[in-house]
């Protein structure tokens, strides 16, 4: 198993480097020169100033050299400098990453647990009103745009009923400490996490339902019945466990994208995470910051893919570590 992880990590590094090189080239090829943008914002667009800026940030070097320096920087966790924010990119990301992880992991856990629960219920009572209700609700959540759900949730729970805060990570200026702080962040977390989780919950519920109904037809379920096992045991031990395999695959694919996929939610709820950072960097042509966010997101996808593979191997003995 260690050999397997080592092998996968080595491959992941290669993939990551390829992604970095690709993104780096792509951004440099885009029209617009960061030195010009900076000079323009400084209000001094004369040629000498621009040249100085270029020299200062190494933009006068040929592209391969720039790329080489950038990759060399990544190895030492130096993701470059954000001209706009006047801060190292790594520091900016490190500040924002915890908030994003809190949001996305919460959303992910909620969606996975509830999705599997509702999917199981729908499969168990397939064809009844409960199944129909769950399936239709899942379809609605699946089909409704996330930002609309977010706005409606704010209107309902924050504006009309005033139950929950509508934006931000914590109450500004309250300076809560200890448990009060946790509660405050928790209250701020509920709306964005639930909104974000609804879509995924719907996919997991539908997938679990379909998968369980399919597994139910397998011969080994008949074997289980022939043993005289109670239905609840058969559902849990034989049907659900087998049915969760495709759900694990799907969840793994989605978990990787959660970090980058929070842009919309973070923007609507003014959540101070990576997604909003990326959004701002994009508007401000902050290339280094944008690249840095891309690197972190790519690394996250690769990490979650590896974790998914490991989990998959743990739950499905048929996939063995070839050794």
């Amino acid at each position: 198993m260690l050999a397997f992880i080592a092998q996968r990590l080595a491959k992941a590094v290669v993939v990551l480097l390829a992604i970095v090189a690709f993104n780096f080239t792509l951004i440099r090829m885009a029209p617009g020169d960061p030195a010009m943008v900076m000079a323009g914002e400084a209000g001094a667009s004369d040629q000498i100033f621009v040249t100085q800026l270029r020299e200062k940030f190494g933009l006068d070097q040929p592209l391969p050299v720039q790329l080489y320096r950038y990759v060399k920087g990544i190895v030492t966790l130096d993701l470059g400098f954000s001209f706009r924010q006047q801060m190292p990119v790594a520091k900016l990301i490190a500040e924002r990453l915890p908030a994003t992880l809190l949001l996305t992991v919460t959303a992910f856990v909620i969606s996975l647990l509830l999705g599997i629960l509702f999917g199981t219920l729908a499969a168990r009572f397939a064809g009844t009103w409960a199944d129909t209700a769950i399936t239709i609700l899942a379809l609605i959540f699946y089909a409704t745009p996330l930002f609309w759900v977010a706005l409606m949730a704010i209107l309902l729970f924050s504006v009309s009923m005033d139950w929950l805060p509508s934006f931000g990570y914590e109450t500004v200026g309250a300076n809560y400490t200890g448990f009060a702080h946790v509660l405050d962040v928790g209250a701020h977390l509920i709306l964005p996490a639930t909104t974000m989780g609804l879509f995924f919950m719907a996919t997991y519920a539908r997938m679990t339902r379909a998968s369980m109904l399919e597994v139910k037809r397998h011969d080994f379920v008949k074997t289980a019945r022939a043993k005289g096992l109670r239905d609840a045991v058969i559902q849990r031990r034989h049907v659900l466990r087998n049915a969760l395999l495709p759900v694990v695959t799907l969840a793994g694919l989605q978990a990787g994208t959660l970090v980058g996929g929070a842009v919309l939610t973070e923007t609507v709820f003014a959540w101070p995470g990576i997604g909003r950072l990326m959004y701002e960097a994009l508007l401000q042509r902050d290339y280094n910051l944008l690249l840095g966010v891309f690197v972190v997101c790519s690394a996250m996808v690769l990490a979650f893919n590896l974790i998914t593979d490991l989990i998959y191997r743990a739950v499905d003995p048929r996939i063995e570590f070839a050794s």
């Binding site: 011969d219 074997t223 022939a226 005289g228 096992l229 034989h238 466990r241 003995p317 048929r318 070839a322």
Partner: protein, 539 residues
């Protein structure tokens, strides 16, 4: 029949949902199961034999209506038993072994845990004792290395080992009745012989009543005390095994018995002076799986120095157990996979060295008939298109190709109306005919038939074999016939090659192979074919 029956099925009538091809799955079936005796329920697919088994286990689908009759067990009628009653009965008193041990075992659970579940379901023993009992049972059914097998997952065992584990599971609570639904159909002949002996042995030792479902009369003659023959849900004949097998009264039983291919090869004219249609020289193929930066590869040698030729108009059989490499050789000859070494010649042409357009052109000379008539036809295309596709790809105009397809359907005994229908509208035998028509559409010189009749009932099997024989003679075809069934091979092949672990161990004219097998593996295979004693007695 002196002993009192433990199960007594009387006038069982099970109705199919409306819209089915017949009103009743099982129509007025009556038979008894007696302790210490094996009752074989024989019939072709759709005869209702599995329905009887499922009714006895209380595992009928909800769509089947229990219309009339009774299943008497221990003073109660099982047809009226409630859910709680079934939970107490299933596994404990009546246990079942299924056909396909791979799919009948949960792939995510260890063998030992699945056996221990039997005790858990009926609240017997403490968890640790359950594990010990599981080990003991695996030992009793003769599983090699029981300590390891108890911790193994199903995919880590072979087919025969899985079926032994399945039997161990069924026997865990010492049931009075064992229902076995085609338990050896998915196994190789040698494994089948062992499993049959195991069931026989356990049933005697434990004095169980066994209901053994099968479509194979060879198996019946090896194992049955009594036989019930089902046709379209009705019992057409029942009685002691000897009577039914040797003095069958009903025409259907006679027809079924007559359709069982004999182990006696029919006399065949020698073909020595013909030219070679196919020449296979030194074919080697090793499958490499796994392997990467840090791991060793796994290698399976599927073809090992394989040499043979097929003369024009000759049928060469390739027999062996699963995993012996016969299908790989078929694919190599078809050039669906590339050999590591060796040459396949079609007539004068080297079929291994050509590529691209030349290869596509030559492909029309050699065509394949597949095993599974359900999976090998595209379900979304009409039969006419399926047959005409090949000729059109080779430049025939669609009009001519469709006209030819209609003729071919006639040739294989199907109506021209089949052109406009989809594969699912046909029975297994009819689909195999479509598969044959598709293979013939390109007017090949050579046909490769990979287990082409294995999925069919005996009576249909006989028809398809006759059709192949007839077409071969009329069109002057050469054939590579791959089968695990030595009876079928005896009937259709001029020469037979026996394969074991990728190598041909013996290659001889059919009659010589059956009368004087030389290689020990050939002898082993021949000895394992079920039903030989009684068929030789009958002959």
């Amino acid at each position: 029949m002196s002993a009192t029956p433990v199960v007594s099925i009387k006038n069982l009538k099970l109705a199919l949902p409306s819209g089915s091809d017949r009103p009743h799955a099982v129509d007025g079936v009556s038979f008894d199961l007696v302790p210490g005796k094996i009752l074989c329920v024989v019939g072709e697919s759709g005869s209702g034999k599995s329905m009887c088994a499922h009714a006895l286990m209380g595992l009928l689908p909800d769509t089947i209506i229990r219309e009339a009759g009774e299943i008497g067990y221990d003073g109660q009628n099982l047809l009226t038993l409630d859910d709680a009653g079934w939970l107490a009965l299933r596994g404990r008193h009546i246990a079942m072994v299924f056909q396909e041990p791979m799919t009948a075992l949960n792939p995510l659970m260890r063998i030992g845990d699945q056996i221990a579940e039997m005790f858990e379901a009926h609240n017997l023993l403490a968890p640790r004792q359950r594990k010990q009992k599981a080990l003991q049972l695996l030992r009793e059914v003769g599983l090699p290395e029981p300590e390891r097998s108890v911790r193994a997952y199903p995919h880590q065992l072979s087919g025969g080992q899985r079926q032994r584990a399945m039997i161990a599971m069924a026997l865990a609570l010492e049931p009075t009745v064992l229902v076995a639904d085609e338990p050896t159909t998915a196994l190789d002949v040698t494994t089948q012989a062992q499993i049959l002996e195991l069931i026989r042995d356990l049933q005697r030792r434990r004095n169980m009543a066994v209901m053994f479902i099968t479509h194979d009369f060879g198996v019946v003659s090896d194992i049955a005390d009594r036989v019930v023959v089902l046709q379209h849900g009705k019992v057409v004949e029942q009685g002691p095994a000897d009577d039914v097998l040797r003095r069958p009264q009903h025409t259907y039983t006679r027809a079924l018995l007559a359709a069982v291919p004999s182990m006696q090869p029919p006399p065949r004219a020698p073909l020595a002076d013909r030219a070679k249609a196919v020449e296979v020289i030194g074919l080697d193929k090793t499958y490499v799986s796994g392997g990467g930066w840090f791991q060793a590869e796994r290698r399976v040698r599927a073809a090992n120095e394989v040499n043979f030729d097929i003369l024009q108009g000759e049928t060469v059989g390739l027999v062996g157990e699963s995993g012996s490499g016969k299908s790989s050789v078929a694919r190599l000859v078809m050039r669906l996979i590339e050999p590591d070494q060796g040459t396949v010649r079609l007539g004068d042409a080297d079929f291994t060295r050509i590529a691209g357009r030349a290869l596509r052109k030559e492909r029309s000379r050699i065509q394949m008939i597949f095993q599974d008539p359900f999976a090998s036809l595209n379900p979304r295309r009409k039969v006419g298109n399926i047959i005409a596709d090949g000729p059109i790809a080779h430049g025939t105009t669609p009009v001519v190709a469709h006209k030819r397809a209609t003729e071919l359907l006639g040739l294989v005994g199907l109506n021209a109306s089949a052109m406009e229908r989809y594969p699912h509208e046909f029975s297994g035998g009819q689909r195999q005919r479509i598969g044959i028509a598709r293979a013939l559409a390109l007017e090949p010189e050579i046909i490769v038939a990979d287990e082409a009749v294995s999925a069919l009932d005996v009576s249909v099997q006989a028809q398809v074999l006759n059709l192949l024989e007839d077409l071969k003679a009329r069109l002057g075809l050469s054939m590579l016939f791959i089968t695990h069934d030595l009876r079928v091979a005896a009937q259709i092949c001029d020469r037979i090659a026996v394969m074991q672990r990728g190598a041909i161990v013996e290659l001889k004219p059919t009659a010589a192979l059956f009368s004087a097998p030389e290689h020990p593996y050939t002898r082993e295979l021949l000895a394992a074919v079920p039903g030989q004693i009684s068929s030789s007695r009958a002959a």
